[in-house]
């Protein structure tokens, strides 16, 4: 009996060559995205950094993009995977427009689509290494949801990815309330982003805030937050315990 070894096809995910075909680690990454619902819609903030490990390689990465007429997508994690997701969504919106039936995909539908995409990639052990935030308004109804790289998704009044979950969510839980005005919403987001700037080493001081309402989406030009480094407690940090680190 002679069994010749069967040749695996090139794009196979089994066998020793499989690992080069799957995502193992992220390379160029974006850090937190923070978003909240306010009176007229959704406000979302993200800085513009693209880190290559510990190097700050890219400083003008737009990590928030409009999707169709009603939605806004923010992403943290691998930037190239975000760009691929934008390509998928481009095709989705194109087909939606080509129906030309007066209907358009709302944020709920886009969020559902993204969840399915992320989950199916996780099932194939080849994830898109992103945490996504999807917000929007359609027919007066505000929607804000998030999906992780393994497909965990939920919607809430305020969401954040990565470090934002640890540093921004507690602030939002304390200070968010229904029907925030635009100014209050921006102030709250800036408060969160400032804490992230102080404490997240991959954050940079160049951010954008995006707003989406029934009328449409606007994204601010890049700007910096004012920071304060003269806090008394940090003037002489070892005053109370000389010799400690």
């Amino acid at each position: 009996m002679n069994f010749t070894a069967s040749k695996q096809p090139e794009n196979c995910l089994l066998g020793p060559e499989s690992d080069s075909q799957r995502t193992l680690y992220p390379y160029v990454t974006g850090t937190s995205v923070v978003a909240l619902k306010y009176k007229d819609g959704i406000l979302m903030a993200a800085d513009m950094g693209g880190s290559y490990g510990s190097t700050l390689r890219y400083k003008s990465v737009e990590r928030m993009k409009p999707i169709g007429k009603h939605s806004l997508l923010g992403a943290s994690g691998e930037i190239s995977d975000f760009q691929e997701i934008l390509k998928y969504l481009d095709e989705l919106i194109l087909y939606d427009n080509m129906w030309d039936d007066g209907n358009s995909l709302g944020p709920k539908e886009v969020h559902n689509y993204l969840t399915r995409v992320m989950y199916n990639r996780r099932n194939k052990f080849n994830p898109l290494w992103n945490s996504l935030v999807l917000g929007g308004v359609k027919k007066g109804e505000k929607y804000l949801g998030t999906v992780s790289m393994i497909g965990v998704n939920f919607e809430d009044n305020h969401v954040a990815t990565g470090f934002g979950n640890h540093l921004a969510r507690p602030i939002l839980r304390q200070e968010w309330h229904e029907n925030l005005s635009f100014e209050d919403g921006v102030k709250l987001l800036e408060k969160c982003m400032r804490v992230l700037l102080y404490r997240d080493r991959s954050a940079i001081n160049k951010l954008q805030i995006a707003k989406i309402t029934e009328e449409g989406m606007t994204i601010s030009p890049p700007y910096s937050l004012k920071t304060y480094w003269e806090f008394a407690a940090f003037e002489n940090p070892t005053q109370g315990a000389v010799g400690s680190w």
Partner: protein, 221 residues
């Protein structure tokens, strides 16, 4: 070259507890509303309950993405059933479908710990309890999820179900009335939330009653 090990896990435990209690002509199903990951809370307001058919509701805790996929899969199969049979699936039928669906992914399981509750064809309460790969059993009451180790002994104590090994088989459904069972469920979550960090007191709860004309909505505490 040594094979690379994955530095990510396809699974996560988003926590939470589910409970169901069957009575002579009712069934109460409840689940808490917290969704967590590790030591973080993702959201405080998430329903783990899903209505699969008119008289059948599933509460699931575990990995939320798998739970959601499972709910969609069952909803799709139920729709096909309705088209083919011109009627809703009964609770025992859905129970079998859930078991088969879970076993289908025996070698890459849905990390979903389920409790199915509803009324059977005679209007009697029924509860089915599952593990992640589809083993199931019809019982009088059950709990699954992170708080189940705390909840189940308490339910055993309060509901005193007769052994399933007895011959002739004795009814496992509780003689308690609906209001008492609902009260018990509220107490159960109050207790579990004291000691299980993934379970909170606040729950979504639905109750089937034989006499109700309309399928009940799901309401919070």
């Amino acid at each position: 070259m040594t094979k690379q090990q994955a530095n990510w896990s396809p699974y996560d435990n988003n926590g939470g507890s589910c409970v169901a209690i069957a009575g002579a002509d009712y069934c109460v199903i409840a689940a808490d509303t917290r969704m967590s990951t590790g030591y973080n809370i993702l959201t405080r307001d998430y329903s783990k309950i899903c209505k699969l058919a008119d008289k059948c509701v599933m509460a699931s805790s575990g990995f939320q993405a798998d739970v959601r996929a499972l709910q969609k899969q069952l909803a799709a199969r139920h729709l096909i059933y309705q088209h083919q049979h011109n009627k809703q699936m009964s609770c025992p039928a859905m129970a079998q479908l859930l078991s088969n669906t879970l076993y289908y992914k025996r070698f890459f399981p849905y990390y979903s710990f389920n409790v199915l509750g509803g009324l059977d064809n005679e209007g009697k309460g029924c509860v089915f309890t599952y593990d992640a790969v589809g083993s199931y059993e019809k019982v009088g009451y059950s709990s699954q999820g992170s708080g189940s180790t705390l909840i189940m002994p308490f339910l055993d104590n309060q509901l005193k179900s007769p052994s399933p090994l007895l011959l002739p088989a004795q009814d496992a459904v509780t003689p308690l009335v609906e209001a008492e069972a609902i009260d018990l469920v509220k107490t159960v979550f109050a207790s579990a939330s004291e000691r299980d960090i993934y379970t909170v007191r606040r729950q979504t709860r639905t109750c089937y009653h034989k006499c109700s004309w309309y399928p009940p909505g799901i309401h919070g505490t």
